[in-house]
């Protein structure tokens, strides 16, 4: 049994007086114990909303979540709020994008780490702080004893993200969700944080869902990659398959738009034309069709189905990039 089995997860945002917006549209994927799974896509493709829906952290009002999120066989969407509270932080940890705003500005770092241990492991404050110090040490924060009493504004951005990782991993959860954990950091710090995450996940056997728009992050970390577009999974492949031959024109375009050291000098970088604003609704065809170079008539006649590929992945495309072109 998979650790996490997301089935037909949909999130519809509905505000009074506005048309409902389908942010996540029947997304399905699985995470095996210890596996690292990527959710990749551009802003607004539904990757963060997916993760918040799994955690049960979407606002209580103004949205409708449907489908199933099976964690160890139990549907998280059907849990009572109190039971979900028991699982968050204990079974599933989460790291967010902006480490400064994600830490409480008026509470010392030590307490922010310790409170999760007090909540789930029944530690008292003193013992929890001792363990918090060890956790800060484990995530590579220098002089952890001193940091316990310091406030978020007193430490650097990289250290803040390390502290958040310590919080998320404090109770040794079986699943960690990282929502763009390096976006707000310098490039050099990004690499350090990713290395740290990889090391911690490997050591503890924690499964990881990596949410990112950065294909470099995917290349370094993920076993399996789900590419999202307009709230749907459009391509799923093992990491090497995806980088070797991405079949969906969108994924292919994304990979081609990454500058490469071995490309001839003076060659122009490929760009995907248009923007997300050009999307058509999935009910009318493929959302990516207006921006697609491979568009055919079938693309505007209804949503293409997600179908298995020869290489063991899945693909939602009527006219995928040919194997030869993709392999180039």
């Amino acid at each position: 049994m998979s650790l996490l089995d997301v089935r037909d997860l949909s999130v519809v945002f509905q505000r009074r007086g506005e048309r409902p917006f389908n942010a996540v549209d029947k997304v399905s994927f699985t995470v095996e114990p210890g596996q690292t799974v990527g959710l990749v896509g551009e802003s607004g493709c539904g990757k963060s909303v997916t993760s918040l829906a799994i955690m049960g952290l979407l606002p209580k009002r103004g949205n409708k979540v449907s489908g199933e999120v099976l964690f160890d066989g139990a549907d998280l969407l059907k849990l009572r709020p109190g039971d979900m509270r028991d699982r968050r932080g204990r079974d599933i940890g989460m790291i967010f994008q902006d480490p400064l705003s994600s830490l409480n500005p008026v509470i010392p770092i030590g307490v922010q780490v310790a409170e999760v241990l007090e909540r789930h492991q029944g530690r008292d404050r003193k013992q929890a702080l001792r363990e918090a110090r060890d956790l800060l040490d484990a995530v590579g924060i220098p002089d952890p004893q001193r940091r316990l009493s310091e406030y978020p504004h007193q430490i650097s951005g990289g250290m803040r993200q390390r502290a958040l990782i310590a919080i998320a991993l404090a109770c040794k959860p079986r699943l960690l969700i990282a929502d763009e954990p390096t976006t707000a950091l310098d490039v050099t710090i990004q690499a350090q944080i990713l290395t740290l995450l990889k090391q911690l996940v490997d050591e503890s056997g924690t499964a990881l869902i990596m949410i990112t728009h950065d294909l470099g992050v995917v290349a370094g970390l993920c076993d399996t990659v789900n590419v999202l577009y307009g709230g749907k999974v459009i391509e799923r492949a093992r990491r090497h398959e995806l980088f070797a031959h991405a079949r969906h024109p969108y994924t292919h375009g994304l990979l081609n738009s990454v500058p490469r050291l071995d490309s001839p000098r003076g060659e122009r970088l490929h760009a995907i034309r248009g923007s997300v604003a050009d999307n058509i609704p999935w009910t009318e065809g493929c959302a990516f069709a207006p921006r697609c170079d491979n568009v055919v008539d079938a693309c505007l006649e209804g949503p293409p189905p997600l179908e298995p590929t020869a290489t063991g992945g899945d693909l939602r495309c009527n006219n995928p990039v040919s194997e030869e072109v993709a392999a180039r």
């Binding site: 967010f96 500005p105 509470i107 409170e115 406030y151 504004h153």
Partner: protein, 335 residues
């Protein structure tokens, strides 16, 4: 920190000196004056001249001011023109009454305002929230003197729940130690007097509390709504913390930072409300003293001291708020 306090106190001294000069000149340029007030319209020029000379108002204003400042340095604010009592004595008799009233009003405003504002934010868009928004709008817009007479009429004339005026019932033999009647009666264990003092206190305190209450409710509500959307609240939820912990430690603590500033400012502004409230309920405090000293006799010495005292209270309250900020918000360094 100590250096900051010392510097702020020095600034305070300068402010007070400048203010004293201003008041001194300004009061003496108001139409009418103690001589007219004491002698009435039909006094002969001779008596006027005599009294003016006796009070020292015939001297150049600079000389008068110099003498005034000289006496202040020895703690002598002069004597009341009307009664002849030393100003310090008159004021220290009235001061506890006003402080008691103002503190009770602030207790009501904070004690009701913060929970109400918090609940309104939590139940945004529901009935309580709408009621709060409308209620606070009324609270800040209804003039105190109007509300005061309204409450007085309803609660003391129509239904006799509260006494109409004064600080204690006539004939009640309460011991006076500090001048704070509630505190005094508690100290001497005269609990019937405590109940009586509280009973007299409730209506005036509520009247005086309306504006700060409304402002604090609005501030708390807005601030909690801001904090609810903060990323660190989401982090707290992602940790699976109990709702109580998320609300108390993560939401309310941050939301109250701006409310503290508001509380400070409102406390400073309370004196102006106290003047009207005390008038309505015949509360023998500083407010009553100010109105009596202006309308009755243009009692220059009393007025000068009272205005300086209000300024002093205002500045000190603000200093306390600024300093307290450094304790409750670790990001703030007091400079």
């Amino acid at each position: 920190m100590l250096r900051v306090i010392v510097r702020r106190l020095l600034q305070l001294v300068v402010t007070l000196i400048a203010l004293s000069a201003l008041i001194f000149v300004w009061l003496r340029n108001l139409p009418g004056g103690p001589v007219d007030a004491l002698l009435g319209e039909r006094a002969t020029p001779e008596t006027r001249a005599l009294l003016t000379k006796a009070l020292g108002y015939d001297q150049p204003i600079l000389v008068q001011y110099g003498k005034f400042m000289q006496r202040i340095l020895t703690g002598d604010f002069g004597n009341s023109i009307r009664t002849g009592d030393p100003v310090t004595e008159v004021i220290s008799r009235a001061f506890p009454a006003t402080v008691e009233l103002a503190l009770t009003a602030m207790l009501i405003a904070v004690g009701l305002g913060v929970p109400l504002g918090y609940l309104a934010a939590r139940w945004r868009g529901r009935l309580l929230d709408h009621l709060t928004v409308v209620g606070t709008l009324l609270g800040v817009s209804i003039p105190i003197f109007f509300l005061g007479y309204l409450l007085k009429d309803v609660f003391t004339q129509n239904i006799h729940w509260f006494p109409p005026s004064g600080r204690v019932s006539i004939g009640l033999d309460n011991t006076n130690i500090t001048g704070f009647f509630v505190l005094d009666s508690l100290l001497t264990r005269e609990f019937d007097a405590t109940a009586d003092a509280l009973w007299h206190l409730i209506l005036p305190a509520f009247t005086l509390a309306t504006i700060p209450l409304a402002v604090i409710v609005r501030m708390t509500r807005a601030s909690v709504l801001d904090v609810l959307n903060e990323d660190y609240v989401r982090t707290a939820e992602a940790k699976g913390l109990r709702q109580r912990t998320v609300r108390g430690r993560h939401i309310l603590r941050n939301a109250l930072l701006p409310v503290v500033t508001t509380i400070g400012l409102q406390t400073g502004a309370l004196l102006s409300g106290a003047v009207l409230t005390e008038k309505v309920y015949n509360w023998g405090g500083l407010g009553t003293l100010i109105t009596d000293s202006i309308t009755g006799s243009r009692d220059y010495p009393i007025l000068q001291a009272l205005i300086l005292l209000s300024a002093l209270v205002f500045v000190v309250v603000n200093l306390v708020v600024d300093l307290s900020y450094a304790f409750i918000d670790p990001r703030v360094r007091v400079r």
